[in-house]
Amino acid sequence: MSVQETLTRWRNKYIPDHVVGEILSKNWIDNMVPFLALVVTIVVFGQVIPDFYSLSSMSDTTRQLGEFMFIVMAMMIVMVGGGIDLSVGSNYALGNFVALYLMNLVGLPVGVAMPLVVVACALVGLLNGILIGYLGLRAFITTLVTLIIVRALVDMLLLQYAVDISMAMPESMIWEYIGIGSPMGIPFSFLLAVALVIVVHLFLSRTRPGWHIMAIGGSRKSAYNVGIPVRRMVCISYVISGALCGVAGALFAARLNSAGSDTGIGLEIMALTAAVVGGNSLGGGRGSATKALMGAVIVLLITNGLVRLGFQSGAAPLALGIILLAAIAIDVRWLKNRYKLLAKVYVSPAYLALPPCPATDPGADSPYAQNDKLRDVRLIGLGEVEGPEDVIFDRDGHLYTGTRFGDIVRFRAPDYDTPEIFAHTGGHPLGLAFDREGNLLVCVAGMGLYLITPDAEIRKMTDETNRTPWSIIDDSRLKLADDLDVAPDGRVFFSEATIRYGMSNWAYDALESRGNGRIICYDPATNRTRTVLRNLIFPNGICMAHDGQSFFFAETWACRISRYWFAGDKAGTVENVIDNLPGYPDNINRASDGSYWLALVGMRTPSMDLALKMPGFRRRMARRISPQELIFPNINTGCVLKFDEAGKVLDTLWDLSGENHPMITSMREHKGYLYLGGLLNNRIGKYKLDDADPEWTGVASYWGGAK
């Protein structure tokens, strides 16, 4: 091995560059920019202004933050739903006025006044909501108008009552406590804001209305088409926004007891800036309570900091304007380019050196020498099944297969003439197996492991496993369950080909050829799912050995067969059985003579083998050219071979022309015949085995019994 190759191998072993793409694919990566901005703001102002973070200064800032948080939340909730609420500033002023009026002039107790304030402001929200949600007005311009109207209303009311309000002082301990109280030294309004952040977070991430609002912001049309009451939810988001403004207004009233006419002027721009700086997208769909919190802190620190630095009156608007522009520009650019960037860096090929490829030439002195035995296989269901990855027989000899339309199709014994749809899964059914009770177990790509009873009732067995510690992408969900087999004790072992890609993108996994796959065990007795083996290179076929203590599994891109013991003396060990196949192994199944059938879905090519040793080459390829042009494992020609427990290849069946049955992903022996399935085929093949036991069936081999 050359020095350069060694270096390549080490580089790919010790520098986990697939992590970059995985981090970029996480939702929380959105928060990095605002988080960095927050840290920078905190540090800069801490350095520039002496005792910016002193106790007294902090107390004042956090109390303002308490009120401001409510406003930013009000803005955020509406923004997440795809709208905007510019009336928050006026509504806040209205809340302040109503609170002062009710407390100072009417003299209501706090417990009555506070809810009334919230209701008053929620009514303004309701007006916005009806106009925007039900009448379909444009949010920006509509809330601009309500901003003017409510502001005018507040000004009119203030002209009448301001003097009276400032003369009176409410005598309420609770009111005073809300305004200036500090339990454990922390301002009351700040505590309230912390509670608000938690509640809003739970609302948006854990409740149905919250999801609906997020969904509408994400794609209004889709939300409408799946039946979410778009108009009502939009309306509700404005009502919530209004109510939050009311709380903020009441807090402000309790703190300052001021009926000034400049309350809340320009607050909408501050709140909008805070929401956008925190990373909440304009136009909706992307936002959270945390983002709003970060944005609120940044904006408040900057505006307060500029005042403390003694800048003139224009400084705050100037700074806000610049920040808002920069934040929106970053937001727009980030949203537009994130997926492009992700597409470029997510695919991360690994170094894989395959052993030399054995000869397959016709007449070569090799067990893999090509022949033409499969030329005349009989065809079943030509043009009537699409994508029969696996085929299997039940106790009565009926033939079952999956199709890419999500159906399980049954051909009745003994003629296998007409297909009938046995069940519909919804995903792409791949591996099939029967358990002791005669239930059909299916690995459904994109869904997980499912059970279909003889009465065609479908039950989910499992769709998640334990998450790998420290894995960045969430690998607890099953993305590509591939093949399965059932142990004598009823445990189901199944392979998940890759955790990084879905069914439609398996070619990218071939390009990576990294150990992205795993084998998982589901125990019906305890209903627990546990990952058994990790970091396998596209694990595919699984087949119980005849000893009932171990199974064979194929790793497709690594071109090898291994055996794993789950019981007995060697429990927990993995042994290599065949390590230099000439092609890419797929499903493995039992043969009647105690050996095993193996399907090769395609053959290795020198160019692909060489490319696997050159990860840099494949990485450049993934970045620069379109997916159709990527180097791709050959899956046009394949074969079926038979091997014994020692890994000796006994027989090979080829179809040289590749016209009758072009692609083989599985085969199943049944009563002296071999039935062939192919992932991209529209037919099932039937091949007569001359020296096989004509009474042998898979079900009997697994579960005993007659026939």
């Binding site: 795809g82 106009l131 509509t142 909008l272």
Partner: protein
């Protein structure tokens, strides 16, 4: 739903093809007649000239706004640009610079702001609403810090020819009215008969289609916002010349909404691609009559704001009733 069918049946009746423009025009006429009959002094020539004089600046600004709104944009920084650039020019004149040079500087500032707006919208792809909203704040803040010493900048003692923009008269017609008429004529010609005008309509109708078919949308956006700022600057000069000062506090007033009111009320939809100068004229008339009447009736400023807001809201609701939102074709993120 029943609402829609009724309205669509309405629109099928050819004899009653009501457009917003016609309704607003009728409303203006009705208001005019009512005020003339009920309000003392409304129908006098002096008052009517005064009415025209008062709304002409609003009309000029409305023309500017209409230009971007037809192209499916909006410029919320228009008032800030106008106030700060003119106030800076006045400051420079008072500082001893010649009137021409000072005005040139102010104009360059205004156009610069407009071009920056256009650049951010076209190339940084910031939505126009937010870009110009932020730009308004930014321009005001920057102006107050760096360019002008006080909130209100007064005209110099001898402003020369530029004072005539506000105070002058031609055949008894005040100069601001003439400025409005000239701008309206120019805007009509540009929108109807030049490539720039047609492209503006195409962009407003379907931005992406316009771009695909070869309209230079990005340079167009930059030009549009530059022109808007330039018109804003001229409107600012007229304002300053008429009232002898430039009060930058108008940035925080509801003036920008009045301008939008004129445009929307006249029937230029905010979704772009339709409307023209005539709509602005009609909208300006209605607002002018309304404001003048309310002033004669001695209605307070805050109440006037309230009424204007209510009218704008009614106009928006009406607009959405004749053009109801279709959940299948509405654009995502179009707020």
């Amino acid at each position: 739903m029943s609402n829609n069918t009724v309205l669509s049946r309405f629109s099928k009746m050819q004899w009653l093809s009501l457009t917003q423009e016609k309704i607003v025009f009728l409303l203006a006429v009705v208001l005019f007649v009512t005020f003339s009959l009920t309000l003392n002094g409304f129908a006098s020539v002096d008052n009517l000239l005064g009415l025209l004089y008062n709304v002409s600046v609003l009309g000029v600004l409305g023309l500017a706004m209409a230009l971007v709104v037809i192209g499916r944009g909006i410029d919320l920084s228009l008032i800030a640009t106008m106030a700060i650039s003119v106030a800076w020019s006045l400051t420079l004149i008072r500082g001893g610079l010649s009137v021409e040079m000072a005005l040139l500087y102010g104009m360059l500032l205004a156009v610069g702001i407009g071009v920056l707006n256009g650049w951010l919208i076209a190339y940084a792809e910031i939505p126009a609403l937010f870009c110009t909203l932020a730009m308004g704040t930014l321009v005001y803040g920057f102006g107050r810090i760096a360019l002008i010493p006080a909130d209100v900048i007064y005209m110099p003692a001898d402003p020369g020819w530029f004072g005539a923009l506000g105070q002058g008269e031609v055949f008894g017609i005040p100069a601001p009215v003439i400025v409005f008429v000239l701008f309206a004529l120019a805007a009509t010609l540009v929108l109807r008969y030049t490539r720039f005008g047609r492209y503006t309509y195409y962009m407003g109708d379907n931005y992406h289609a316009a771009r695909i078919t070869g309209v230079p949308t990005r340079p167009m956006l930059v030009t549009q916002y530059g022109v808007v700022a330039l018109i804003g600057f001229v409107a600012g000069l007229v304002t300053a010349a008429s009232v002898d000062s430039m009060n930058t506090r108008i940035v925080n007033s509801t003036m920008i909404y009045d301008v939008i009111l004129v445009v929307v009320l006249g029937g230029i939809g905010l979704s772009g691609g339709k409307g023209g100068v005539r709509n602005v004229v009609v909208g300006t008339m209605l607002i002018g009559i309304l404001l003048n009447g309310m002033t004669i009736m001695n209605i307070e400023y805050t109440v006037q704001n309230f009424i204007k807001g209510a009218i704008l809201l009614a106009a928006l609701i009406f607009d959405s009733l004749i053009n109801p939102r279709d959940e299948q074709t509405a654009q995502q993120g179009d707020i």
